[in-house]
């Protein structure tokens, strides 16, 4: 569908025309228009990013009274600020007077927020404190009857330091929306006595492609040896040099073989949950290649051996639509910020347990920069591929993409043995050898997408 054709057909479009989901026939295909149509993008912003829960940040970004950080919920600027009473709250970052953003920095500290345009002021709990020259303003009683406070986010909640909000009121309670994935957040947060933190220094990059390319890439076990052979070969070179000279550089992936394509036992898989949340994983052993290794014994005591081992597994988790936590070569928290149908901004941080040793922190940071940064040695090989996909999507001679069916024949309803080990109850599970590289994980994204967009596409 070109843009012109899309306009003509707008009233006819339904999720079924973009998602060919015939489970019984073993078919799941996505239409290329899903990724390159401005009208669909606009509806996604309204019905997905501005129509339900999204991740906003970590509580540690506003640790003390009057600390704040700013984010985007779809196209809506939002403010998360801790009041003088110690309570964290979320607001639309927009003055009720003329709409200007009142907080401009990414993070800061303010007992009082003063709109720079006409000086209306608000306290850190969002209450209007003053309207400039109110008494001389000849306002009507009707004006006085209005609230002049900042608009609170209709839904706002925190789980183990992970902060979520919604600009739509009709959302399930946060814990219902998280569901089983709260146990996956536990596997991150419980790595530290006091949870995890963002390591100072944020890295932002853009790519000329649809946001769902990033959504899929994080869950993609299939691309690793194809897109990142230079990184894999470098790990081997460094290992050889380290053996020779005692110098060199490690990766947390040094202890992992789930991606190798060589192991025939069960080493990897995916779990799919309601609301479009997913996890893909690879089995790894606790090893000094991971910065977490110094906490291995303590973790075994506090969370038990099985959950401890899961913390060392490669785990890429997505909470649909905008949060991804990737624990593989190091540990990354990333937030997807769609800009347009063919442009996306990624905000990324290294995360680690609070209170880890200086050596472990250094190891974690070095491994992160090497792999995850857009100035590193892996991410650019992904983002350049996204851009090639985006250009390829224009070709709709054969419009249905085929990258969602790998693994479909080994799908298991409910929990697999590995999921049962940590009491996890996914909707479905796939486990397999290092060549299985399940792609049905993306089906969860698109079923949730269809659910949220149903009705919207006819607008």
């Amino acid at each position: 569908m070109g843009e012109g054709m899309m306009k003509k057909e707008r009233a006819m479009i339904s999720p079924g025309e973009l998602i060919d989901d015939r489970r019984e026939a073993g078919i799941f295909r996505i239409h290329r228009a899903m990724y390159d149509d401005p009208h669909i993008f606009d509806l996604e912003m309204r019905h997905i990013f501005e129509g339900g829960w999204v991740f906003l940040g970590l509580e540690c970004q506003a640790a003390s009274a009057h600390d704040y950080f700013t984010v985007n919920i779809g196209r809506v600027p939002a403010l998360v600020i801790r009041g003088g009473d110690g309570v964290l709250r979320g607001f639309v970052n927009s003055c009720p007077h003329k709409g200007a953003r009142i907080a401009h920095a990414g993070c800061g500290h303010a007992r009082q927020l003063i709109c720079p345009y006409h000086s209306w002021s608000f306290d850190s709990s969002g209450r209007n404190k003053a309207i400039k020259w109110k008494s001389g303003g000849n306002y009507t009683p009707g004006f006085d009857a209005d609230s002049h406070d900042l608009a609170a986010l209709p839904a706002f909640g925190v789980y183990k330091g992970f902060v979520f909000g919604s600009v739509a009121p009709d959302v399930p309670p946060l814990m219902d929306w998280l569901g089983e994935t709260a146990k996956l957040l536990d596997l991150i947060a419980d790595q530290g006595e006091e949870g995890v933190e963002l390591i100072p220094g944020a890295v932002t990059f853009t790519y000329e492609g649809n946001w769902k390319l990033q959504l899929e890439n994080c869950s993609d076990n299939y691309h690793f040896t194809s897109a990142h052979p230079s990184y894999i070969r470098l790990l081997e070179r460094r290992k050889a040099m380290e053996a020779a000279s005692g110098t060199g550089f490690t990766s947390a992936m040094d202890s992992q073989r789930h991606w190798s394509g060589e192991d025939d036992e069960i080493v990897a898989g995916t779990f799919s949950f309601p609301h479009g949340h997913v996890l893909n994983f690879g089995i790894a052993q606790p090893s000094a290649a991971s910065a977490l290794f110094e906490r291995s014994d303590w973790l075994e005591e506090t969370v038990g051996a099985v959950r401890r081992d899961w913390m060392f597994n490669m785990r890429n988790m997505t909470l649909f639509p905008n949060l991804q936590v990737a624990e593989n070569a190091s540990s990354q928290l990333r937030v997807i910020e769609p800009i347009s149908h063919n442009r996306t901004r990624m905000r990324t941080w290294c995360i680690g347990p609070k209170g880890e040793s200086a050596d472990a922190r250094r190891q974690r940071i070095r491994q992160y920069e090497d792999f995850f940064n857009p100035s590193g040695m892996a991410t650019p090989d992904d983002t350049v591929a996204y851009e090639d996909c985006q250009r390829g999507f224009a070709g709709k001679v054969s419009p249905w993409l085929q990258g969602y069916q790998r693994g479909m024949a080994s799908r298991r309803e409910g929990a697999s043995p590995l999921a049962q080990g940590i009491g996890l109850k996914p909707d479905w599970s796939i486990e397999g050898n290092s060549r299985l590289c399940d792609e049905t994980i993306y089906q969860s994204y698109y079923r949730e997408w269809a659910r949220r967009m149903a009705g919207a596409l006819a607008e």
Partner: protein, 166 residues
């Protein structure tokens, strides 16, 4: 070669480094570095502050040792990196050179840079800009770079920022 690095000599070294990157003479580029070089491009903490401690804060690039730079060059030439397969065309401009400190064995040189690049694959042109801080150390009869810090002002990176674009 003077006993103490002069501004004119420092400019010559900076221009030669930039030219080696522009012309993809990466072996010549690596030859300008000391084995124990610290190559550092900090990230930004907020709108006005870069990270200042690579051990506790994130950097965009941080390498101790020339071998790590050699690894990056190996990757660029490996035919194993999708992002490096069609290289960007790059032109560095280095200026505003200041001799911050110059002793018999060592000199600290500050400069400003712009690095224009055109990526033929995406037909996209971009310019990275910021400041360099080079530490040159005398080894025998040459000055080698023992530390280089790149402060990248426009740190929202469009898809790729590799060593030769900075």
């Amino acid at each position: 070669m003077s006993a103490v690095l002069t501004r004119s000599e420092a400019e010559d070294l900076l221009y030669r480094e930039a030219r080696a990157l522009d012309e993809r003479r990466f072996d010549d580029w690596l030859a300008l570095y000391a084995d124990d070089v610290i190559f550092w491009m900090p990230a930004w903490i907020d709108e006005t502050t870069t990270t200042s401690d690579p051990d506790t804060q994130l950097s965009l690039i941080y390498y101790e040792g020339k071998q790590n730079l050699a690894d990056r060059i190996w990757r660029l030439r490996s035919d194993l990196s999708n992002a490096s397969e069609i290289p960007a065309r790059v032109s560095h401009i280095v200026g505003n050179v200041i001799v911050e400190r110059a002793d018999a064995g060592e000199a600290v040189i500050l400069s400003a840079f712009t690095a224009h690049h055109h990526d033929p694959r995406s037909d996209r042109t971009h310019v990275f800009f910021g400041h360099y801080r080079h530490v040159f150390r005398r080894e025998g009869d040459v000055w080698l770079i023992s530390a280089k810090t790149i402060i990248l002002m426009n740190d929202c990176i469009p898809t790729v920022a590799d060593l030769y674009m900075l």
